[in-house]
Symmetry: none
């Protein structure tokens, strides 16, 4: 019997410890990796092919939702369990839209985590509470644009963003222009506040 392989993605070491402890206490479950950023999670997931990914939302560089979107674009998307600080119907909707299969709160992780992972391993979904089952709308931004939004909101310059995404400065600036136009924003300052309001980055 092969073990259930689980990837942990959270930027807080303490949370990773806690998750690992809970997971490894269950017979037949194993942690196949720990990621500290969304981008890290994407690469680790592609290397280790976990059955399930336990993913925090608020992470530097690439947040959990965006990482989920990218991973779920793969031909065989992994089962992703979102770990969130807040009980927000808006966030749950975005989570569903991104392709995640579960959503639990950090405050009642523990047995809830075990239940959720068990459900996901069985191919089911798991949601903590009220599921606003409405289809996703919002998201007028493209995935690439959301990446740029996050990096810009984290204080990176266009040149740094271009390097990170392996594109030219010009392309990066084109994205920024399109983003500001789409969102009717006037400056980076407003973009940062937009990103914080929408949980794309932490304050």
């Amino acid at each position: 019997m092969t073990p259930l392989r689980i990837l942990i993605a959270d930027d807080h070491e303490l949370v990773r410890h806690g998750l690992r402890r809970v997971i490894e206490d269950v017979p037949g479950w194993t942690v196949c990796g720990e990621a500290t950023t969304g981008r890290h999670a994407v690469t680790l997931a592609r290397e280790t092919h976990p059955h399930i990914i336990v993913m925090d939302i608020a992470m530097p560089e690439l947040n959990g939702l965006e990482a989920t979107r990218q991973l779920c674009a793969a031909p065989v998307p992994p089962a992703i369990l979102i770990l969130s600080m807040h009980e927000s119907t808006e966030l749950i909707r975005e989570t569903l839209a991104a392709g995640a299969r579960g959503y639990i709160l950090k405050s009642d992780a523990g047995h809830a985590l075990v239940q959720a992972v068990t459900a996901l391993a069985a191919g089911k979904k798991f949601f903590n509470n009220k599921i606003a089952a409405l289809a996703h709308d919002s998201a007028t931004l493209t995935p690439r644009e959301r990446e740029v939004v996050q990096l810009a909101a984290e204080g990176r310059t266009s040149k740094e963003i271009a390097t990170t995404l392996a594109i030219t400065l010009k392309t990066c600036e084109a994205h920024r222009t399109n983003i500001l136009r789409k969102l009717s924003l006037r400056s980076i300052s407003e973009l940062v506040r937009y990103a914080i309001r929408n949980n794309i980055v932490e304050p």
Copy 2:
């Protein structure tokens, strides 16, 4: 030799697990209790008399800072280590004012936690490197600089700020330069996040 008794206060079960794991891996250290709210922490501390309290800031009912204030009003105040999500100079100031002896970030807890608890157990204080650096050279902003911070964080350009404050563009730029230097920030994006963290503007 009596063990070092440590009280954990955090509303997230995962974080409590992680903290307990790290603490109990150190010989001679023991967790004498776990509190899930600030009020709970106060009562537990009065019952169990821990040597050290590891306290989260964001907790329901009574936040970590207020709990710290109440506990430090006792004749023999306990050593309190604040566990925070954010690097905020304002929070650090409040933390110090409340009577805490240490401040570390959740993102680099783990070895930092062990170092900090060790320091506190020896009667010393412990502050994260970055935090110490922030607390030092940041000092305080002048009232005028705070005005500029707010307007800049609201997305105004320097020219608009100058008009609003009835000063010249050059003066406004001087203020901005001084602000970034004082706070060790690199860009407007970081200034916006600083302003939001410190409740100077709303997201």
